[in-house]
């Protein structure tokens, strides 16, 4: 038997030394040392030997096993080393094969980002009807019939006497009527205005309306919120400036100008050479509007703002024609 052991060892050593891969090495390990391996089978036979020979043969087998194991380990280390030492040429510039995924619409991408920012600030998202009454869209917002402010919001009329909403602000009084303050609300949505379509106008456009009502909401909170949101969207270095404006449903009224992200204030076709882009009209909610929403303006105050979503998308990606966003062309869509 001792001779068998030595032969086995020589055979194993010979095989191990000519091995080229780790997989082959593993096969050899199983062939000799596995559950049904050649050496394992010899171990099983020890009990058949006369007792006086058992311990000597046992020692020999153990030693052989150790030798084979050591050699296997050495060989394994050598093989691993040689894998990295060869430094074969591998071209990392070969193009990958891209998985075939679809593309998110840039406006929805930006909208999700805007919502995330406001959710972080404690806002809840609300949604209201696009087929709206004149009351919520205009009257409740201090814009009675024949008010000149209606000039900038030419309206589509439906046969049932309703209108297509011209502004997401239509949701202000709706939410107020049914929600106890304090609250912070974000209303993204589509609006409609009677406009001929060109590069900077469309009869359908997206806005994100926001408003907050609380006991001690301040004008500086409004300016701070606008700044926080626009800097989150456009980066810390973004330059903003505020100006007075008039919307019948706010007082004081604020207009927000963002330094043109295309020309960085130098003036370009995009910002009509002013260097600035009007982006986020806002203001403190007019006491009349709070009253219409059944909220006591002596106890509560609030602010409201609107973001032109298409404008933000255009500024971010340098799109100079609004119509691009509603063109379902994969050559456009696949860029996002």
């Amino acid at each position: 038997m001792n001779e068998d052991i030595i032969n086995l060892k020589n055979e194993a050593f010979a095989q191990i030394n000519t091995v080229k891969s780790i997989d082959e090495l593993e096969e050899i390990r199983i062939a000799y040392l596995g559950r049904n391996g050649k050496l394992t089978n010899l171990i099983k036979k020890i009990k058949d030997l006369p007792p006086e020979k058992r311990s000597q043969t046992g020692l020999l087998i153990n030693e052989t096993k150790k030798n084979i194991e050591n050699l296997l380990n050495d060989k394994r280390q050598n093989l691993i080393k040689s894998l990295t030492e060869k430094r074969e040429w591998f071209d990392l510039t070969l193009p990958g094969t891209k998985p075939e995924m679809g593309h998110k619409h840039p406006l929805k991408e930006v909208l999700e980002e805007v919502k995330d920012i406001f959710k972080y600030l404690g806002y809840q998202v609300a949604e209201g009807p696009e087929i709206e009454s004149d009351y919520y869209n205009f009257e409740a917002l201090n814009i009675p019939k024949d008010h000149p402010a209606r000039d900038t919001q030419m309206t589509f009329y439906l046969e049932n006497g309703k209108i297509l909403r011209t502004q997401t602000s239509a949701m202000q009084v709706r939410v107020m009527e049914k929600t106890k303050p304090p609250f912070r609300v974000l209303v993204p949505g589509r609006n409609f205005r009677f406009e001929q379509v060109d590069a900077s106008h469309g009869f359908e456009f997206w806005q994100v309306e926001g408003f907050a009502v609380d006991k001690n909401i301040r004008f500086t909170d409004l300016l701070g919120t606008i700044s926080f949101v626009l800097k989150s969207l456009f980066g810390k270095e973004t330059k903003l400036r505020f100006a007075t404006t008039n919307f019948p449903f706010v007082e004081p009224g604020v207009d927000t100008y963002l330094q043109c992200t295309i020309c960085h204030g130098k003036g370009c076709a995009f910002c009509k050479n002013t260097g600035w882009s009007e982006i986020m009209p806002a203001g403190m909610i007019h006491p009349d509007v709070l009253k219409k929403g059944k909220i006591d303006p002596k106890k509560w105050q609030g602010f409201a703002f609107a973001i032109g979503l298409s404008r933000i998308v255009n500024l971010r990606y340098g799109i100079n024609d609004l119509r691009i966003l509603t063109t379902p062309d994969l050559r456009i869509l696949s860029q996002f």
Binding site: G102, K115, E159, T179, F183, R218, K272, T326
Partner: protein
């Protein structure tokens, strides 16, 4: 509003560089983005908000610059009018609903001639054409003071009587610039004994206008009903410089001053003498009124501490005559600032002159609401669907909600069942869409790629329900169906049924179906009707689905976690032959339900009437042995035979 710089300088010295001044004006509310050259003059083009009629004047702008610079305005010198020696007669039948205030004077013995050079220059600088000394002066005063006025040829006022009234509708009127109009109902008109001589607040009449030989004039300045002016000018499509001021509502207390100023200038440039009293018809006095501002409230609303002295200084610079008594500051509001009605209006006055950009930036301190607000929108399902569709290779589109009658008809739908716009911008955008699919067919057509996969998530009308719809061009049915299967699987929608019927004719009647969970319709899917493709001129076969977001959400369940077995699965393929019209989707469901030990069933292959299923057997407790697998297999074969008359091949 055009503001020539040189004219502005008549009233105020401009200390800031022009570019800085333009920004400061914008900051306080007069949006000044454009500086133009008109007839060689530098002219600011200012956007005036609807609440500020006083800014529709060069003096009004000068007052704001004075407030910015802390200066005083050099007001034009108005000489007292001499008492008239003659009295030319004028009889007036007034109507205070139409004309709240009528101020007028008659000047006799004037000589009509071209305006002096300084006046022509001013008129040219606001882009108008000089006409004659009298007309130019009325325009000059309107631009200077924001008070529209009109000069009539006194001798052309038949019977020397004027009746203010509202039109019946249909009257003919020719304006001083010789354009004919047919008047709408309720236009404010002035009639003499015989004819309409003025479309008040908008345009004067040709018949009573100033002519080369006019000797005597009646000059009036009126306060008109702004709503009626606005309705008439919209109905006629006629917006004049005057109507733009009237719509905003000019200074009700300013008519007399404007008449005096114009009379001064007419006497200077056209000669003549005052030939009547200064007539002033009004129902009530228009006087400055008090308005209170509480200092504590100002600082609470604004969020900064502005010192009382500073507040007083700002209000004084705006000529609001503030007087402080403790925390209360009482202003006396001049009539030209009738936009100031409530305390918040005064807060804005202080804030804008203080400078919006001088405020610190803060965030609201209050608590965040825990309960849901009204109209709360849960957008989780929309987000999830978007992820699934994009991962399935579909690209998102956004299409118009407004579509044409043709698109509806081409989709084999009924325009009558759609909401129609009364005043569409064009016939292409006349109806609100009731499905997203027609827009997606157009989108699929627009893209010439071999494979096109597009989707949209949006509302449809009339119910404003959200749908997710997709279209596939150049793909096989099973690839298309995969996206639906994935949606249902990922949303945990089980036990749905496929009904081989669709209400919507946009689908191929034999190759479309409805997905139902219990009684609720999840949506439709199938091949687009070849007739619809023909109508849209699309050659390729199109597959589409439209699922309802609310129905998806209501049927969606969070799946319970299924522990991973640590015992190896046994996988085998079984091929069955079925009679025609067997619903393989149901067969798979049946096989799956045969035993808990059947972990997965997939359709691997279809060859003629033979279907090969790949079946995964697995237990959580042990490795299944051959005998156990054989028994499961027998059960499957028996079930298929019994239920579907299918046999093993």
């Amino acid at each position: 509003m055009l503001v020539p710089i040189s004219w502005l300088k008549d009233y105020i010295e401009i200390k800031l560089p022009l570019k800085d001044l333009m920004w400061r004006l914008t900051e306080i509310g007069l949006t000044s983005e454009k500086l133009e050259k008109i007839n060689g003059e530098e002219v600011l083009d200012i956007e005036v908000t609807a609440n500020r009629p006083d800014w529709m004047s060069i003096l009004g702008v000068a007052y704001e610059i004075a407030a910015i610079q802390g200066d005083k305005v050099k007001e034009p010198q108005i000489k007292k009018l001499a008492k008239s020696k003659k009295t030319f007669e004028i009889k007036v039948k007034n109507n205070f609903q139409a004309i709240e205030r009528w101020s007028a004077i008659i000047i006799s013995g004037i000589e009509i001639k071209p305006s002096p050079e300084w006046l022509q220059k001013r008129i040219l600088s606001v882009g108008l054409r000089p006409i004659n000394n009298v007309v130019d002066i009325t325009n000059f005063v309107m631009f200077e003071m924001g008070m529209p006025m009109h000069a009539f040829d006194y001798d052309e006022i038949k019977g020397h009587e004027m009746t203010f009234m509202l039109s019946q509708g249909g009257e003919e009127f020719t304006s001083v610039d010789e354009l004919p109009y047919k008047l709408p109902k309720d236009a404010i008109i002035i009639k003499d004994k015989e004819r309409i001589i003025d479309l008040a607040g908008i345009k004067g009449g040709l018949n009573s206008g100033i002519k080369a030989n006019t000797k005597n004039i009646l000059l009036h300045s009126t306060i008109n009903n702004p709503v009626l002016i606005r309705r008439t000018s919209i109905a006629l499509g006629l917006r004049s410089d005057a109507s733009a001021i009237y719509e905003r509502g000019p200074d009700k207390g300013g008519t007399i001053k404007a008449i005096k100023r114009a009379t001064n200038l007419i006497l200077e440039t056209a000669g003549g003498e005052v030939a009547s009293d200064l007539i002033d018809l009004k129902q009530k006095e228009f006087k400055p009124y008090p308005l209170d501002l509480n200092l504590k409230r100002l600082n609470e609303v604004l969020g900064v501490e502005i010192k009382k002295e500073k507040v007083i200084k700002i209000l004084s610079s705006l000529n609001l005559n503030p007087k402080a008594k403790g925390e209360k500051i009482t202003c006396i509001i001049p009539t030209k600032r009738s936009d100031l009605k409530i305390e918040e209006d005064l807060i804005e006055e202080v804030a804008r002159i203080y400078g919006y950009n001088n405020f610190p930036l803060t965030l609201p301190e209050g608590k965040v609401k825990e309960e849901k607000i009204a109209y709360f929108k849960d957008d989780k399902i929309e987000k999830r669907l978007r992820e699934i569709m994009i991962a399935s290779g579909y690209s998102e589109t956004m299409n118009y909600s407004l579509i044409s009658e043709k698109i509806i008809k081409d989709s084999l739908s009924d325009p009558e069942k759609h909401i129609k716009i009364k005043n569409p911008v064009s016939l292409d955008y006349q109806y609100l869409r009731s499905s997203l699919i027609p827009s997606l067919i157009l989108a699929a057509k627009l893209n010439t790629d071999k494979t096109v996969k597009l989707f949209e998530i949006d509302k449809v009308f009339p119910d404003e329900k959200y749908k997710v719809s997709a279209i596939g061009k150049g793909i096989e049915f099973r690839e298309f169906k995969g996206a639906i299967d994935l949606i249902l699987e990922k949303l945990g929608i089980e036990n749905y049924e496929t009904i081989f019927e669709v209400e919507n004719q946009i689908f191929h009647p034999a190759k479309s179906g409805t997905i139902k969970v219990k009684e609720s319709n999840i949506g439709y899917f199938g091949e687009i009707n070849p007739q619809v493709r023909e109508n849209f001129a699309v050659k390729e076969i199109l597959w589409a689905f439209e699922l309802d977001l609310e129905a998806l959400k209501n049927s969606s369940k969070i799946r319970t976690f299924f522990p991973v077995s640590s015992y190896p699965p046994q996988i085998e393929d079984l091929t069955f032959v079925f009679p025609p019209k067997t619903k393989i989707g149901e067969v798979i469901e049946s096989i799956r339900k045969t035993s808990d030990l059947i972990r997965n069933v997939e359709l691997k292959d279809i060859y003629q009437d033979a279907f090969t299923f790949r079946i995964t057997y697995q237990s959580n407790k042990k490795t299944l042995n051959d005998a156990e697998i054989a028994s499961l297999r027998e059960k499957i074969i028996e079930e298929i035979k019994k239920k579907y008359a299918g046999s093993v091949k």
